[in-house]
Symmetry: D2
């Protein structure tokens, strides 16, 4: 394997190369908590993706999440992953400032932080993104559900969130003044 | 004068009462830098209001600005002042988080801070607000001009901004990563 | 009463003038959540003030809080109120950026927001302030207690916080990534 | 080469492995703008590192900067790099919130953004860090210079900053309200 050969899909890695890379450096992600807001900008609903695992059959909830590719800007990665997970007609309002509201650190070992990812050490820039259009998740995310802040703070919901992301969603709601 | 009588226009004060109040406490304002952003959220243009003074005939540039009334929420004040200065079809994207990107302090005496307001000690919560619709300022703001970040950083433009707000607009552009 | 006479204590108002002003405009406050952090900047303890009411005998918990005076800068007000509530040897690390992590809105009527203040409509710029020295509250705050994030999130503690400020402290802990 | 063998220096990579990794994914950095602040938290001086290149003999200025290692938390990386570049007695005040004030994107090709790094695609979480102790940079950073905001905004200084970081320092000063 040589990495010097021009890559027909720059930024995309083979499974082997990705595994190797994951053992060497933290992998940079962007994540987004999709929200619906009212005319005053106040959050009314939070969008959660419900995803079934082909391997385990277990259903898990998650938020928009994906890698930043080599050579890709953070904004491009955010828009690409929003479209991947919410479809082409979601019309997300990508933040005008690139500063994330928080940084999420996922370690392979559970318990280091409230967040974990068995595949890797990942660091995610996390944004709150209002969406105004119709959301139509791609195939492998079976459903997008809009929940009120009250519904989402139910431990039965937050505990279903993959990798401890219930913690992140609570943090997002606090940031929006909707923790109550 | 008694303040106990129910006010037919709660929040609105007579000139006398406002002058007296201005001598007693800092007056709370909301201010907004209107921007047009591209699909990636990057600022393309900043909107400046051009206003003629009836008294002096001098034209000054400014941003969206107005008081928070007694009993009025910060979000309500922000939306009301956006509509007052940009018209009813501007469709502003009011921020989902109420934390301002900066706080602007105006003192009556010039030179204390880069900002001043001869009428009063004012403290403003300042937001960047993307607008997507058509802007149609009310009568006394003669014109809304959209300028690129490069155009706006021209000292001839920033120096025209009322009360030293060129400082604020530069700060907003830095916050958006568009200072260059 | 004339406000044109030079004030021997500028910024300080008679009870009458303050009451009148409170009926006219929102009153600007600064508030601070005092914290102790470890060498990595992670919050270890949050400081709560325990205050007894002379009138009711009820003990309430609160955070550092006070008005911004006429002519006083936000930074001066923050430092003055930190010293008033934590004493002269607290050595607070006043934030280098004046942007608050949130804005707290207190209305006279309970229920409008999670926060209320029967005396007035108040708007507070809220900061998290690490302190490194010894805290020695002034007389009318009987005690400063340092609690861990876990202890403070106990509803019995947060419910004791004056004016709904348990909401604010939870928001501060979320901002610090310590909501868990 | 196998990555499954336990690494005696986890997180540290051979030059070959690092080069390969740099061609695959964006590399995560932490960067810090060291500042001295007054009792009110206002920035008085910004610290710049002056570094001579062994290869070219050219002197360049920079800020605190370094990689986040595999398995290392962002806070640990920030503290480690502050100590590496400022010495063990700098006593940095690591931010209580992990949210950076901005995210810096360095691409190998100049001109994509104001920032570039010929070695790699790097993404840095950037913080402002007040330091209170004595700074004693390690050998390869020849000097730490404290400059006032006015001095640092001189284009002759900002243009000397490595990789376009003059842009970042201006952004930091704007964030601190010291752009003027």
């Amino acid at each position: 394997m040589t990495v010097r050969t021009p890559d027909p899909n720059p930024g995309w890695l083979s499974e082997l190369a990705l595994d190797e890379t994951r053992s060497r450096v933290p992998i940079l992600y962007v994540e987004a908590v999709p929200v619906r807001v009212d005319a005053l900008g106040q959050v009314e609903h939070v969008g959660l993706l419900l995803r079934g695992s082909a391997m385990t059959g277990v259903m898990t909830r998650t938020i928009v999440s994906g890698r930043v590719m080599h050579g890709e800007s953070v904004r491009d990665a955010l828009v690409r992953n929003l479209e991947k997970d919410l479809g082409p007609t979601a019309f997300p309002q990508v933040p005008a400032s690139i500063a994330p509201f928080t940084v999420a650190e996922y370690f392979p070992l559970p318990g280091v932080t409230p967040l974990h990812d068995p595949r890797q050490h990942a660091v995610a820039l996390v944004y709150v993104v209002p969406v105004t259009g119709e959301c139509d998740p791609r195939q492998d995310a079976l459903e997008l559900t809009w929940l009120t802040p009250e519904e989402i703070l139910d431990p039965r919901v937050t505990d279903e969130l993959e990798g401890g992301r219930g913690h992140l969603v609570r943090q997002a709601l606090a940031h929006l003044g909707a923790l109550s």
